[in-house]
Symmetry: C2
Subunit: 204 residues, 2 copies
Amino acid sequence: MHFSSRLLEQAVDEFGRLPGIGKKTALRLVLHLLKQSNSDVSRFTHSIDQLKEQIRYCATCFNISDQEVCEICTSVKRDHETICVVEDTRDVMAIENTNQYQGVYHVLGGLISPMDGVGPSDLKIDALMERLKNGEVREIILALSATMEGDTTIFYLYRKLKDFDVQVSTIARGIAFGGELEYVDEITLGRSIATRVPYERNIG
Amino acid sequence: MHFSSRLLEQAVDEFGRLPGIGKKTALRLVLHLLKQSNSDVSRFTHSIDQLKEQIRYCATCFNISDQEVCEICTSVKRDHETICVVEDTRDVMAIENTNQYQGVYHVLGGLISPMDGVGPSDLKIDALMERLKNGEVREIILALSATMEGDTTIFYLYRKLKDFDVQVSTIARGIAFGGELEYVDEITLGRSIATRVPYERNIG
């Protein structure tokens, strides 16, 4: 790309570093911002600077929070005997949106991935074990991605959690609701048959 | 979406205002920035602030430029008797990338669009007419989109340019190179047949 301005090129380069944003999209976004008012652009950049400077993580569950301890961890309405372990804040948001879960969370901040140089010590695993020491937690739900990294992390956590008197669960895997059989991958389909459940349980 | 942090929500809202960026993508981009170093994030926001504050437009052709007059307009290697009229700086970049054009440009800054409240006075049309007054320009190439707004703008410019002793051209329209006939829309195909050219000219 031939840029008529170094400043333009720099801004496009920066946008192009974002995941999933190619050079053409980056240029489109930068030219869009150029057409906006000064105050609109300031508000955009200020919101990012402010978030980066003032971001805090809940001291208990490590979810992104504006307070020392997040709203979920301080809520008396939540079941503090059940901890759902997730990779990041997006997973907390997705599970909260289901309205199916009343327990609390623990945000690992990633998954074990030797390929990416992420080991157990890079994640909030020790902090999770700390939370179990007072004996109040009864169940740990491992809600991690069905990927190699997710499975590796589940296996690692499962072995660590055996030392505690706590029920360890993983979220159910199988055919998604509305999923047509012919489009389901073979591994999922094969395991769905192997781990089939009585009909009475499925409608329960 | 349920956000655990107001700062996070604000940043996601701002990103979500960009064209083609939905809420989920916005969240992904913001969380990506949160994982980057402070200096990387500062460089990102600073590049946008700096561009917005210091952006200049060439006094001659109105392309984005770091100088008072842009490199193309000051180049002695360019043909200053030919002006290619385009909508915005992206079109200049696209045409420059072809290496097929040696003339100069004039950036309108948009297209006439009554639906969007954009009239001729909102575009750099008077400035284009000014450039013709010294009589040095021989040809004006209207390289505008093949849309209703593009056609409206071409029609308006064509009527204004009739007062000047200048050749007015529009870029060729037809089947794209590599385009398969069965996938071409009917209007393009029909007009391509109606405006067919002798084979000798096509290979010229």
